[in-house]
């Protein structure tokens, strides 16, 4: 799992707190040596899933003191659901937001290390282009105050989509398992939908810009059990076409929907493995204590 990248540790800062590493040189090296892609190729030749997101020696600070992520190195496999679990404040939301540079919107933060998506260091790329390939669903559903139809098509239009809009809206709503429930009210307000439906609408909206990765930060924490069940079914349906990373506080949700589970504690990656293994025979005592509810 450790990075084989020979280039210097990359750095990207958001608030004039750049470490001394030369980020331009790093960018050139990163472009010249697409190591994550190479690693993906190696993995594929071994019959394993391709690496979609390769995280190497990732460190993240809020201000000068809070070292929120400490030396995280991990691979997210393509077309798998990866769950990030851990107690509050362990860094799981910070980590998922590093995958689409969302943390840059927070002032006075510092990031060191590398995040490669499809073999490219995303911190050496255009953040808008990065986010176009990576959809995100948040804790609370946040539809636009517009119709269901416009919610879905909005991002695609901004990205210059010129195809058949009706077909795109239907496809995305079907993929999000919402079509049957809203096909007769596409031009009604998205606010008329239930919380669970709104969350699936947010998935449909994210899918419309054709990302290949979906990040979900506690997507069902505001939903009731029935809506949660439907949402989890949707995740299972999407797995074959998208790489999904989901932050969850619910251990049962992690065990139900994910293929891989990553356990974080106090900013460190304690254990990563197949979900079945993590929930039946965890390798680390701290993981066992957490998944069995002995702390957290």
């Amino acid at each position: 799992m450790a990075s084989a990248d020979s280039s210097n540790v990359g750095s990207s800062t958001q608030a004039n707190t750049a470490p001394s590493t030369n980020s331009t040189a790093d960018a050139q090296q990163a472009d010249a040596t697409p190591t994550a892609a190479g690693r993906a190729g190696d993995a594929a030749s071994e019959g394993e899933a391709e690496t979609k997101i390769a995280v190497s020696n990732l460190n993240f600070w809020y201000g000068d003191d809070t070292h929120a992520l400490q030396d995280i190195t991990m691979d997210v496999k393509a077309n798998r659901v990866t769950a990030l679990i851990g107690p509050s404040g362990c860094g799981k939301s910070t980590l998922i937001r590093c995958f689409n540079r969302m943390n840059e919107l927070i002032p006075n933060t510092t990031l060191e290390g590398r995040v490669h998506v499809n073999g490219q260091n995303i911190y050496q790329a255009d953040p808008v282009a990065v986010r176009r390939h990576i959809g995100m669903v948040f804790q609370k559903p946040n539809p636009f105050p517009k119709t269901i139809y416009k919610n879905v098509i909005w991002g695609a239009r901004i990205n210059g989509y010129t195809g058949d809009e009706d077909a795109l809206v239907e496809r995305c709503l079907r993929q999000a398992a919402l079509w049957d429930e809203v096909k007769d009210s596409l031009h009604g307000s998205a606010y008329n939908l239930s919380g669970g439906q709104q969350q699936r609408l947010c998935i449909a909206r994210a899918l419309a810009v054709e990302p290949d990765i979906l990040l979900m930060d506690e997507p069902t924490s505001a939903l009731d059990p029935v809506a949660t069940g439907k949402f989890e079914d949707t995740i299972s349906e999407l797995r074959s076409e998208y790489t999904i990373v989901v932050v969850t506080h619910s251990m049962q949700q992690a065990s139900r929907v994910s293929d891989e589970t990553v356990f974080l504690y106090m900013g460190r990656l304690i254990e990563m493995g197949a979900t079945e293994q993590v929930f039946t025979r965890p390798q680390k005592e701290r993981t066992e204590a957490y998944v069995t509810g002995r702390f957290g």
């Binding site: 251990m251 929930f279 039946t280 069995t292 509810g293 002995r294 702390f295 957290g296």
Partner: protein, 232 residues
């Protein structure tokens, strides 16, 4: 971890504690049943045999209590990792205990037909087999209480000794049947008794294997003990 950090699962810990207590009660009850059944058989004490048979309903009732308790924990606490192994093991060994109880009841029922042939029983290795099986049962219980995987493996190893003795009994009793056809009925009961004890030892072995699974996370069923040792 501070003690306050343990609070979130105090309910589950309480439920698991109760489950362990039930299982130990079951082990003790079944152990008593085996001892009383064998005593009744050896002494030809028909009344004592009937008492053992009557007490089997207690074993059955405790089996249902344990199963219901496991169902409750699974439904309400959705245990994982070591807790889940405890539940899986509890359900399985509960069945083993209940089956041992049934074999004890059957042994006790053979007291009446064998009461008139005390020498015949003494000539077999059935009492010796029963001693070993009871030792195994107690060893499995001790391994469970102390989470002692080494002790559990010792229990597993002894099953072969019981199997060997049963095979010897079988050959001897069949030969005797051919020589004394008039004693066929009593000899048939002795063969069945020998088989019952052989099965009790199998169940004790299963319980010990459950303890290994609980402690190590390794499922060593259907393996030779030497292979199972390598996997630990």
């Amino acid at each position: 971890m501070s003690s306050s950090a343990n609070e979130p699962r105090s309910q589950l810990d309480g439920e698991l504690h109760t489950l362990r207590r039930h299982l130990v009660s079951m082990a003790t009850l079944v152990d008593e049943q085996l001892a009383h059944a064998m005593n009744a058989l050896i002494q030809g004490d028909v009344e004592a045999g009937e008492a053992v048979a009557a007490r089997d309903s207690e074993v059955d009732a405790l089996e249902l209590t344990i199963d219901r308790h496991c169902e409750r924990i699974l439904a309400l606490h959705t245990p994982v990792a070591a807790d889940l192994r405890m539940l899986i093991m509890a359900v399985k060994i509960n069945t083993d205990f209940e089956r041992i109880g049934d074999h004890c009841r059957n042994l006790a029922r053979y007291t009446a037909p064998l009461a008139d042939f005390p020498d015949m029983l003494a000539a077999t290795t059935v009492p010796r087999m029963a001693d070993i099986a009871r030792d195994m049962l107690r060893g499995a219980e001790e391994a469970f209480i102390n989470r002692d995987r080494v002790k559990a493996r010792t229990v597993i190893a002894r099953d072969q000794q019981v199997n060997r003795l049963h095979a010897e009994n079988l050959s001897a009793l069949i030969a005797q049947m051919q020589q004394t056809p008039e004693a066929t009925e009593a000899l048939s009961y002795l063969i069945t008794a020998s088989k019952a004890i052989e099965r009790i030892s199998d169940h004790a072995k299963n319980i010990a294997q459950g303890v290994v699974f609980l402690v190590e996370g390794n499922d060593i069923r259907h393996q030779r003990l030497s292979d199972a040792d390598r996997s630990s």
